[in-house]
Symmetry: C2
Subunit: 160 residues, 2 copies
DNA sequence: ATATCTGCAAAGACTTTGCATGAGA
DNA sequence: TCTCATGCAAAGTCTTTGCAGATAT
């Protein structure tokens, strides 16, 4: 997909990517990407808005939404729904990246935990499944989602 | 979970289930369950509302939402998010039921396809993964979600 | 009889749209 | 320069809440 080369040249490595899609690189887009790449959290649009508000007091929530949409469309960011009514965003590590992970979602407090364990086994099964399903349903599979739901350590204790 | 006995006795098989949770059985709840059990579609609250409107012209959308919440809480119905901004509901077939399935979601037209293929392999992997994750993160896993995203046959053709 | 449930209307939360101003290439 | 991006305000959508009247047990 990308070159993998992230050595700084003044511009973020994503600059070419954005431009390649015919979009302009702006300070706001730069800022959103900066935040996205520097966190392992699962930020909502408003989270990003608040974090940016210090640096860019005039940035609008609308711009965050529009930027995120652009980033999702160009494949730089994944959009998730963890069931709390607001979308969460995360910089995309492709399914073959060593950082590729899935999520544990606490249905009590909403805490999200990333895990990379079992990913190799999962990947193997997913590939088989994807191939089988593609053939059977003539479905061109581009992505998958795996999430586990349950109670995190804290909520599990509190319940007792 | 349930007895598995669904032979009619005047009352729906779910009657005892609802009552067991201390809820009352009402015509509206009966009606929602009737629809849920008779379809393989993935209905939104409004879908159900419209389907019921013929039989019960006075039923309110609010009641649908409240009933669905109740059914989800008592485990009779699953709630899904397929990314189109509205929740979808489906009668629950437990993870060990032969009808247990996962979904293929067309990101273009929104079509949902159920599949049961590979479920056995998936179940095996999921069980392993659940056990491993439970131990590692002290996370009490109660449920899982697997979805594939891509283009359905029709949308894939149209795109060319 | 009475605690629960329903339906209506209104409110709430997140997200998108319209439009004039501002900025990138 | 000229098209694209931004910010504000307003609108849109789905969902939840408040409350008086109706219903199940």
């Amino acid at each position: 997909m990308q070159s993998g080369c992230r050595r700084g040249r003044g511009l973020g490595w994503w600059h070419g990517h954005i431009r390649g899609y015919g979009y302009r690189m702006t300070a706001q887009r730069e800022a959103v990407l900066e935040i996205m790449t520097k966190t392992r959290e699962h930020l909502s649009a408003e989270d990003i808005y608040h974090q940016l508000h210090n640096l860019y007091p005039n940035i609008g929530l609308t711009t965050i939404y529009r930027t995120l949409e652009l980033l999702v469309d160009t494949g730089l960011v994944y959009k998730f729904d963890f069931g709390d009514g607001r979308a969460r965003y995360e910089i995309s590590e492709g399914p073959d990246s060593p950082d590729h992970h899935h999520h544990l979602v606490c249905t009590c407090c909403g805490k999200i935990t990333n895990y990379t364990d079992f990913i190799d086994k999962e990947r193997k099964l997913l590939n088989e499944t994807e191939m089988g399903l593609s053939k059977k349903f003539n479905f061109k599979i581009t992505n998958h989602l795996i999430q586990f739901y349950g109670l995190c350590e804290k909520c599990n204790k509190d319940e007792k």
